[in-house]
Each structure stands twice: as structure tokens, then as C-alpha cells.
């Protein structure tokens, strides 16, 4: 079965929660994954982010739910690395 090992997301989120809490929440909901967040643009009420998640098996639905619960919206999936396991 193919598993997602790395994914790069373009995300828009409100200023709150801040980037640290945002990254922690994604990591909480994606056990065993490493989350890296880079702020690419800041507007009056929103921030655009590049979210890089790496791990053994990334559950994209869990990530999407975490984003939604924090009021963020997924603009695009810019990069993905999938490996077919044994």
C-alpha cells in the first residue's frame, strides 16, 4: 500500500492561533510526523503559510481536519512524496 512520506501545503490561516500553536496542533493530530511551518505572507487578518509535513505515514484527512479546526483553509498541495510499501 502506498503511504505519504512528505507533503507540502499552501495554507491560509487567521493570525490566531499563532504559528507555534498551529504547528503543534497539526503535529498532535499526525502522530510521528515532523511539521515545519514557514510564513510566506502576512495580511491584515490572515497569514499565508507553507506547511511541510514529513513522517512514516501521513494521514491527509487528519491534517485537513486539524487545519479546519483552526479556521485555516488549504489552498493547494504543492508537493507530495509517496512510497509504495511492502
Amino acid at each position: 500500500m502506498a503511504t505519504i512520506k512528505r507533503i507540502v501545503l499552501d495554507v491560509l490561516k487567521p493570525h490566531s492561533p499563532n504559528v507555534v500553536e498551529f504547528a503543534q496542533r497539526i503535529a498532535d493530530d499526525s502522530t510521528g510526523c515532523r511539521v515545519q511551518v514557514t510564513v510566506s505572507e502576512v495580511d491584515e487578518k490572515t497569514e499565508s503559510l507553507i506547511v511541510v509535513i514529513t513522517g512514516e505515514s501521513i494521514e491527509i484527512e487528519a491534517v485537513e481536519n486539524a487545519l479546519k479546526s483552526m479556521g485555516a483553509s488549504l489552498h493547494s498541495i504543492d508537493d507530495v512524496e509517496v512510497i509504495h510499501g511492502e
Partner: protein, 193 residues
């Protein structure tokens, strides 16, 4: 995420700890000044029994509490709904299932609780000498005079708290709030027949 962490996030998200603290002090000050005025009225009339004073103070404290509770809920609910709508417009998406929507629903309840509890507790604190007198303790200068003194003390302590919050010298802040209480008392003494 456990419930406490979630609640902490909601409070940080909406900056409700700052709003709640401000409401507690503002409405607590209202409660203390109202009780000061009430007890000064009793003192001037000179014919109010302790039990009448206790009843009037409890009724006033409850009214202050309910007033704070309802006004806090209505105003904060309107404010949070507006903030959520503006955020949804900026995000161009529905935030109904986000922490922001949860905060918009729960934070007004929390704020309303603090807004009502602040003046109620402070008012009840000021009336402590009246309670004690009714319970059989004898106050050194009479129950009503002691309640007036307690009101001044509570107002002084609230000034200290404000000084601590603003990071200024506590005594200066406390003396300023005390001056407001003294000014209010003088006005009451001047205009009460």
C-alpha cells in the same frame, strides 16, 4: 487535545483573559461604589435597622450581578459574532467548525459569568459587617459605619490591583481610586437631604 488545553486555546485566541480581568475590575468597582452609596444613605437616614440594610444590600448585589451577567452576555455575543463574520470574510470561508466559532459561542458565557460575579462578590464583601452584626457579632463603630469603612478598604485594594495591572506604583493608583470614593461620598452627603 484535552478539554483544558482546548479551553486555554479558546481563551488565548479571543484574548478573553484580558477582557474578563477588565470587566471584573470595572464592574467590581461599580459594586463597591454602589454599596458605599447605599450604606451612606442608610447612615444619613439614621433609622435603618441592620436586617433592613442586609436585605437591601443583598437585593442590590443580586441586581448588580444579574445586570452584569446579562449585559456582559449580550454585548460580548454581539462583539464576537461581528469578529467571526469579519474573519470569515477575510478567509473567504465558513469557520463554523473551527475554534473561532467555538470561541464566539463560549467566550460570551465566560465573560458574562465574570461580569456578573465581579460586582456581586465585591458587593457581598462590602456588606460583611452587616452580616456579622446580624449573626451576633458586635461591630466597633456600628454595622453600617463598618460597611462604609469596608467599602473604602475594598476600593483602595481595587486601586492596588489596578496599579499592579498597569505596572504603576500601587499606592498612587490606590489613592486615586480612594479619592473617587471620597468624592462620591461628599456628593452624596451634599445632595442627600
Amino acid at each position: 487535545m484535552n478539554m483544558l488545553t482546548e479551553l486555554g486555546l479558546l481563551i488565548r485566541l479571543s484574548r478573553s483573559h484580558q477582557i474578563a480581568r477588565r470587566y471584573f475590575v470595572v464592574n467590581g468597582f461599580d459594586g463597591a461604589l454602589t454599596m458605599l452609596g447605599l450604606n451612606l444613605g442608610f447612615y444619613i437616614s439614621g433609622s435603618v435597622t441592620t436586617s433592613t440594610a442586609v436585605s437591601a444590600c443583598i437585593a442590590t448585589a443580586i441586581a448588580l450581578g444579574i445586570s452584569g451577567l446579562s449585559s456582559g452576555y449580550v454585548s460580548e455575543m454581539a462583539e464576537k459574532k461581528r469578529e467571526l463574520r469579519e474573519l470569515e470574510q477575510a478567509m473567504v470561508s465558513d469557520l463554523e467548525h473551527s475554534v473561532h466559532a467555538t470561541a464566539a459561542r463560549l467566550v460570551p458565557v465566560l465573560i458574562a459569568f465574570v461580569n456578573g460575579l465581579g460586582p456581586f462578590l465585591i458587593a457581598m464583601l462590602v456588606t460583611t459587617p452587616l452580616w456579622l452584626e446580624q449573626a451576633g457579632f458586635t461591630m466597633p463603630f456600628g454595622a453600617i459605619s463598618s460597611a462604609i469603612a469596608t467599602a473604602f478598604l475594598v476600593i483602595f485594594m481595587m486601586g492596588m490591583l489596578l496599579g499592579w495591572i498597569s505596572g504603576t506604583f500601587w499606592l498612587w493608583s490606590a489613592l486615586r481610586t480612594l479619592a473617587i470614593a471620597v468624592g462620591t461620598s461628599l456628593l452624596i452627603l451634599l445632595f442627600t437631604p
